[in-house]
Amino acid sequence: MTAQLPALQVAIPLICAPLCVVGRSRRFAWWLFLLAALASLAISVLLALRVSREGAFSYQMGGWTAPAGIEWVVAGYNVPILLVVSAIAVAVAVYGYRAAGLELDDWHTTLLYTFLCLTLTGLLGLTITGDIFNAFVFLEISSLSTYALVAMGRRRRALLSSFRYLVIGTVGATFFVIGIGLAYAVTGTLNMADLAARVGAAEGNRALYAAVVFMVVGLGVKVALVPLHAWLPGAYAEAPNVVSMFLAATSTKVAIYILTRVMFTVFGTALVFTALPTGQVLLVLASAAMILGSAVACFQGDLKYLLAWSSVAQIGYIMAGISLATAAGVSAGYLHIINHAITKAAMFAAAGLLLARLGSVQLGALAGLGRRMPWTFGAIVVAGVGLIGLPPTAGFVSKWALVTALVEQRQWLVIAAMLVSSLLAMVYVGRLVEVAWFRDPAPVTETASPPKGMVAVTWVLVLLTIWFGIDASLPASLADSAAQALLGGGG
């Protein structure tokens, strides 16, 4: 039974998805999604324990041995991602019980859970697979269901955001396929470990260089790395809030994971970072992302757009750590993946509370409400402090790790960009504080108190950001083992 856990991890949400529609009941679909999320979390924990006990292991899909069959691998590098994705899915499920109904009618809520199950399938499959074409298929499963989820937003503008995301996302995925094709033409294999073993023999092959570039650019779209980020703000801000919370915390993170997997374990640092100037290019783009994302966030009039642009900047931090290609840098990147997932989920959860109480997250509508809703705004401020990266929040720990890694490599300009970005983050979080506490209250009629489940999830996430800021041993050990598995060679 435990031998089949990697397959069940992905199969359970996949089976739950059609059942959600068949049930034709909002409540039933919710239970199924909760079940899928809890099962994924339980399996992730079991897999994580097994990896810490016995080290990395692989699963042969259908009993066909690799490299001919499809191989799934559980190792230090994907355990943290599996845990983050499934834990956030559980949080989203609990939060969504009341939150989804606020923005959608019954039938669309049922469909929402169906697509959330499919997105979860895609993200978990993408994380666990050891076959590169299989990765493309899972990437598209998660992306396609994401397009549908974004289109469910309450404003009609969501449709255009979703369409743009679809076009840009498909171009990115197709670039990824071109890269796979070129790598396949050179090496004749699709298994990641087998590819890694054969890449060395094809040293200096131009087609292989092209494969690296196509894959990095294609995945760069999914990661939303500047300048390929155009789809992100609209998609996150216009989606129903439950979806924003799930996507902001997981989808770009999984894309970053698969990018690191391709760069470090498939093509290897010798090809990607020594023969090609990938590291320098990514560092420049990451610095640009930090500054641009935070700067634009300062000028947003809508809380969800503000958070989405802040995500662009945070992705810059993660990518800066990873593109150093050192143990400290990759570990810092992973740490920030974990911490930012929790912080951003908390932030969107808090935004959802405001949406539930006021029906709007326009900053104008929030004027002077800090005193009337101290707890909701308290959550926003604590999570906001996490986004800036001040102690005692998790954001501080990962930024500290990132600065240490950058100092080690003497990347002073990137550190300067980080500083500027953090100051700008202070401006946009400060602006929220200013609006909430130092403005004359808008004449709000009635503010219903938000559902308890939503409040509980928000505070669990907020407290988790503080907990990981004070005692970072768990995420730090996960991140370190991930960096070790990625840079230790061999996929």
Binding site: F136, G181, Y184, F299
Partner: protein
Amino acid sequence: MIATHYVYWVLFAIMMIGLYVVISHGNLLKKLIGLSIFQVGVFLFYISLGKVRGGSAPIISPTVQTYSHPLPQVLILTAIVVGVATLAVGLGLAVRIFETYGTVEEDEVITRSATDPADGVPEDSLNGGGGDAAQGDEA
């Protein structure tokens, strides 16, 4: 180089034509057509990889010595399914956009959404330049 590898040149040209259509056209349907051309170029590229000179179709037969490689075709079967699904979702969205906005021209959709107070957010906020002045929330 060109003479021996002309297939790749042609196929990459097809891909770039598709990509150019996606970028240059504002009509949402034309964007989807471009996207399909782009993807078809990639599919053909994969299939061309599997062709072995003088090879026959990969069906075992006692008279045939060389076979073409079947795996790329199988992979592309999967990719075609993904492509069709993407196109279906894209067309579905285009239909919804046409129903709500009455047009499938991207520029038109943006102007109609910007002038509609029901949408809440001004367009420049969508593209990144939005702010308080346009928002009018400096009460």
